[in-house]
Amino acid sequence: MHNENQSLIFELSKEGRVGYSLPELDVPELDLEELLPEGYVRDEAPELPEVSELDIMRHYTALSRRNHGVDSGFYPLGSCTMKYNPKINENVARLSGFANIHPLQDESTVQGAMELLYDLQTSLVEITGMDEVTLQPAAGAHGEWTALMMIRAFHEANGEGHRNKVIVPDSAHGTNPASATVAGFETITVKSNEDGLVDLDDLRRVVGEDTAALMLTNPNTLGLFEENIIEMAEIIHSVGGKVYYDGANLNAVMSKARPGDMGFDCVHLNLHKTFTGPHGGGGPGSGPVGVKADLIPFLPKPVLVKKEDGTFHFDYNRPQSIGRVKPYYGNFGINVRAYTYIRTMGPDGLKAVTEYAVLNANYMMRRLEPYFDLPYNRHCKHEFVLSGRRQKKLGVRTLDIAKRLLDFGYHPPTIYFPLNVEEGMMIEPTETESKETLDAFCEAMIQIAKETEENPSLVQEAPHTTVISRLDETRAARTPILRYTKVEA
């Protein structure tokens, strides 16, 4: 079975089959030609599949078996925080009073939903140490851009519209510079020093009166805490810039350090990471943004507020707001899940989450250190980065190691990122994994390191057990086939 092509749903289609059950038409039937202008009645039907309900279920079940999720096995994908996705979250998000409410209903009819959002907002204010939070942005990158637009509006309101530079470390996620560009800024890259932290001298060199902001992930993408954060914030603030916290790695510092106390002016969070989203195969996410008081006037519209009478209200009267960043009020369904998670964990639970996330990462780092190069040898936070340069000398690349891990039933770490590590492997175990799982993964890594020395082709030719072998990505990009086209027999 594995040697055959998996059918596309279109290839299962047969005229005359249906998979739907529409309501009966109980009003007089009319002719479309009478209802629509000439030339606007579709004359060629879209080629959607014609299949029965069982066909559909079998098809998607087959596809699901060709997919690896957190529930399938360990998923130490660095920077993505692939923790367990609690099932209660799914049940709560599907409650009719949450799933079946329309975003434009009168506020008086959705007070329960607004109360939940307000409580989530308030919890995130506390967790981040900021003064106000908006739940509007749909994802992390969307949150980054939202916050940068606010920084831009802040500078413009102060007559400093000339501030057009955003400083980003060389280890930053690609979304940071891209968000800066979309918000109309130029990006300046600041170097890392030999300890893997931002080089303060280089930072002092690049700041100036054109500095709008510094974007920083802390702990950074190497999993290291930027110890000089206070000094960095001072450098930026002294020239009038703002300091932005990329909350991708918040799982590492809950109850240990808050962005608001570290000198950050704004922060975005990835609720689909730290707060158990889930990831959904690539989305949806939710990327709330928290800000300090001086940025509050620029929050996107509307702002959810609690009125004196205890009711909740969407405030549109925000003259300095950057405007709308998304229709309606953010990815509510994801916010419900995150809220359920926070309520499930409580303050003690969130503290334990961070402690175990960091314990697990350090444990794995020390277990693997003898077998792989560790470019930055100090306590890590929730993740760490190994280098495969030792293996590369033997002809085995990090990509090969990743592919070999598939044979052991694991999702590989993030590879070739951050960019400042040669043959990088970024490993983030998360707190929801047991010691047995961590040990088994380490054993697999150690075995691969041995195979690299003894039988490198076994690694180079991996994977050997997956439903499909390595795919020709060059061919996919050179002659793109982005959709199915029916071949007439």
Partner: protein, 448 residues
Amino acid sequence: MKHRYLPMTEQDKKEMLETIGVESVDELFSDIPESVRFKGYYNIKEAKSESSLLKELKQLAAKNEDTESNVSFLGAGIYNHYKPVIVDHVISRSEFYTAYTPYQPEISQGELQAIFEFQTMIAELTGMDLANSSMYDGGTSLAEAGMLAAGHTRRKKLLVSDAIHPEYRDVVATYAYGQSIEIVTVPTKDGVTDMDALKVLIDDQTAAVMVQYPNFFGQIEDLKTIGELAHEAKGLFIVSSNPLALGVLTPPGKLGADITVGDAQVFGIPESFGGPYCGYFATTTKLMRKVPGRLVGETVDQDGRRGYVLTLQAREQHIRREKATSNICSNQALLALAASVAMTALGKKGVKEMAKQNIVKTRYAKNAFEAAGFTIPFQGAHFNEIVVKTNKPVSEINQYLLEKGIIGGFDLGRVYPELENHVLLAVTELRTKEEIDALVAEMGAYNA
């Protein structure tokens, strides 16, 4: 404390600390400077057990008036449609919802193929050459289309029809500000884009003309003529479209659209108080290499088997960084899957039948309102929404309707001052004749 999501035992912890060579977990945080260390205790609610939290949140959910226990005529971009039950069964398979972006194609063929099928279905419905793997929602997708047009044409002006969803227009304006792009609003006449005004406003600086199809008032725009005007000025033609309507309407791809965007919420996705939804982005082969977001392409493995990969990634932020033209990093994979299942269940015939039911039932409602003495100001062809003029404030009418178990329409006066006391009503296939009759009767009773 022990928690069901945290498996480490005290013994595990002890052994791990020994391996690391530290005495306590606290030592692992010694790199956090004393001055920024959080020494307090989060002032958030204490943890609750599974059963008591469920109970509490059910009560909170029950405070809301939902569209299941009420009869809803509220649309305005998000609709109460038939959701095939099978959709939730498929997206509840945790191999899909607990996975991340399919970066390792060998163990992500399921997700990749599902997206490839989604791309195909959207391309089919819109009549465009290709579609991407999805966007956050219809509004941000429209904004991205505008940014693409400005980059592609190297022009800095977008002509936006006033009959586009007001919140979508607001989002476009925010994005445009970031890119220093000018927004010019094209007014409407009789509920559709005013062609004379458009002819005056369009010029050699116009990057694109944007319209909605069916538009915010439910009316069918003359895409063919608008597209010709856009192309004469060498601008792009961008259409925001309800993909369900394309079950019966000539698709934008056949009427000159360069980019078609919209929201696939209509296919199996609950209203969910604003999201998550499923934006789509479809375009021509010519613009393929400028598409924002992820694309899945077909290829073969080393043994010649058909397979799928994320492709043309040179466009994306993680490769291009500050040179990227869009910062989008995720897609709405799970919602794209939901929409795919619904589109599959409906199929070629069902999508047409469902779209047609929307038009026919809306026409029934229109006739019934007119028979009851209401004025319908816009008399052009419609899809599943109509504008009804009222004698009393819409908010009052809606308050009254709610007492009767009806969620009324969108108060147009909130965003169009000239349409005070006008309500936008959506009639989907789920509304029965009886429900429509009740709406007309109750509105008549209150309005009189």
